[in-house]
């Protein structure tokens, strides 16, 4: 009796902890979406997670038995923590997106493993009562499918962002994918309509399902352009959330349920917000109409004019107001530090230097902010594009460094352009424009940019980092 009430107390503490953890997750997410509280929000959510983990180890009971193998569990947690910590601390700031994708994949894999192990143990009583078509089996199968897809997809996304995997652009893949998805769903229906004594009889089917889900995850992400990966990761992130929530159903576990669903819904909204910032639809990203190479109706008029390093140095040094537009090329060239050096040099000479930050410059939301923050560019110098646009007519020189789409006037001029309607930095309003890029390569949207043919534009060809280096030297020697 006494032991029984002790057990009940333990379970109560566990459930209360789960509720507290859920509340902390909610607070955490909420605070994460405000700049001033974001970091504390992350910490809060981590505390909630810690509480839930510890309480589970201490108080969880299944059929009256406490958690066993505690030593091994602690070892596993230790190993995971050390590896996770080290990777997270070591990786370069610019490799953040692939890292998020990697960790996301780990979560998906864990969810899939749980489902695989739980499947053979569905309570025979339940099966006797309502057959295989019960909530537990459904939760297990969905958890397996979604978790596996999320894992495989995340790994491909990781590989693409890391430059290890190229795109596979075959139109027919769309139909192949739909077929695989149909097979997966049929498999679920098939399993749930079998008449068996014990679910373990069907275990082989689970492995088949796992393999098909892996294939689906791979095929799902393969055809999507590398630059769309942030959106895909966000989507897979919400998938993993749903997979975790399936575990919540299975174990009747509040923390898993809320945590998972919260991430699932917040992740979906975030995915949509991200798409919106790039002025395209989620469907577009997934089916991949876009990145394939748009065509512009505008005839190329005017010619490309170059500028020498020394002329550029003089022009910049004797300006009053300079605006730098960083883009994907700056990130690729890792030129953020040298760029900041240039801006400090110019400021010393009395030039007012600002950065125009476009919301989708680079390859992930906030990419430029993160990049320039890493190079210690003061926050006040970073101006959002909407805010800086009215200032551009008073700007003496606008320096474009490895940006392309975000300054493409086709977004305003050419209704047939794939980027038509996207808000851009109105570069052509500035008095002079210097564009640094390696050649006449196109940007992410793969369309021609008429700005380069503008009368006010001068090109400075070469890799952003080395061009900036020589420019800095030149300015110094002036």
């Amino acid at each position: 009796m006494d032991q029984l009430s002790q057990l009940q107390t333990g379970i109560s503490i566990l459930e209360i902890t789960y509720i507290i953890a859920s509340v902390l997750f909610i607070f955490g997410l909420k605070m994460l979406s405000h700049p001033l509280t974001a970091r504390r929000g992350n910490t809060l959510a981590a505390i909630g997670m810690g509480m839930a983990i510890i309480a589970t180890i201490l108080f969880h009971h299944k059929d009256g038995k406490p958690i066993g193998n505690v030593g091994l569990i602690l070892v596993a947690i230790g190993i995971g923590s050390i590896i996770g910590w080290v990777i997270a601390k070591r990786v370069k700031m610019t490799a953040m997106p692939q890292l998020v994708s990697f960790f996301n994949g780990m979560g998906g894999a864990a969810a899939a493993l749980i489902s695989m192990m739980e499947f053979p143990h569905v309570s025979p009583d339940l099966i006797a009562k309502s057959g295989m078509a019960n909530g537990h089996v459904l939760a297990i199968l969905l958890g397996l499918m979604i978790g596996t897809v999320s894992w495989a997809g995340s790994m491909i996304a990781f590989g693409k962002l890391d430059g290890r995997i190229g795109d596979l652009r075959i139109k027919a893949l769309k139909y192949v994918n739909l077929t695989i998805l149909a097979v997966l769903i049929s498999l679920i229906v098939y399993i749930m309509t079998r008449h068996v004594q014990a679910s373990s009889e069907l275990t082989p089917l689970i492995y088949i399902m796992f393999i098909i889900a892996v294939i689906y995850g791979v095929m799902f992400v393969m055809p999507i352009g590398g630059a769309d990966m942030p959106v895909v990761i966000s989507l897979l992130n919400s998938f993993t959330g749903v997979a975790a929530a399936m575990g919540g159903f299975l174990y009747n576990n509040q923390a898993m349920l809320t945590g998972g669903i919260l991430v699932g819904s917040a992740g979906t909204i975030l995915t949509i917000l991200m798409c919106r910032a790039m002025n395209r639809s989620l469907l577009n990203v997934i089916v991949g109409v876009f990145g394939g190479g748009g065509q512009t109706n505008m005839a190329v008029t005017g010619s490309v004019k170059e500028i020498s390093i020394s002329d550029a140095a003089v022009l910049l040094s004797y300006s009053k107001k300079v605006v730098i537009v960083p883009g994907y090329g700056l990130a690729v060239a890792q030129a953020q530090h040298i760029c900041h050096e240039l801006d400090k040099l110019l400021e010393e000479k009395g030039v007012e230097v600002k950065y125009a930050i476009h919301p989708v410059a680079g390859r992930m939301p906030g990419h430029m902010n993160v990049l320039l923050a890493e190079a210690d560019v003061p926050y006040e110098q970073l101006i959002e594009s909407d805010e800086i646009n009215p200032d551009l007519p008073n700007t003496d020189v606008l320096v474009v460094i490895g940006a392309n789409d975000v300054i493409n006037p086709a977004a305003e001029d050419d209704p047939s352009s794939p980027i038509y309607g996207m808000p851009i930095i109105k570069a052509r309003d500035a008095k002079n424009i210097i564009v640094m890029k390696r050649g006449m390569g196109k940007g992410y949207a793969a369309i021609e940019n008429m700005l380069f043919y503008n009368d006010k534009t001068r090109m400075l060809f070469g890799d952003a980092k080395s061009t900036l280096q020589t420019l800095v030297n030149e300015v110094k020697s002036l």
């Binding site: 953040m96 998020v100 493993l113 192990m117 997979a243 975790a244 575990g247 349920l257 975030l270």
Partner: protein
């Protein structure tokens, strides 16, 4: 049909919790500014690492060696998700923070 309704009746509170959580997830982040998209994604990523609780439960009640190995793996992967996720988010946000002052 009867099966589905029965399942719903049995789990209606869980279903309702799911609905409320969906709303909350949407409400809570719907005003996030673009610069926080990536940290938010990363933080959310860490939160779904809560799946580790399931991994611990599985491992804690594993009986065969095979289950043990898989469970061990699940716990390691789940921990990676949790710890890596929170640490990397913190690192991102730390950078924003410093620049603010």
């Amino acid at each position: 049909m009867g099966n589905i309704l029965g399942f719903f009746l049995l789990h209606r509170e869980a279903v309702f919790i799911v609905i409320l959580s969906i709303f909350l997830g949407i409400e809570v982040i719907s005003h996030v500014p673009a610069i926080l998209h990536t940290p938010l994604m990363s933080g959310a990523n860490a939160i779904h690492g809560v799946v580790i609780i399931g991994a611990i439960i599985v491992m804690g009640h594993a009986e065969t060696t095979g289950a043990m190995i898989l469970g061990f793996l699940a716990v390691v992967l789940g921990t990676l998700n949790v710890v890596g996720g929170f640490v990397v988010t913190d690192r991102m946000l730390e950078m924003f923070k410093r620049k603010k002052q």
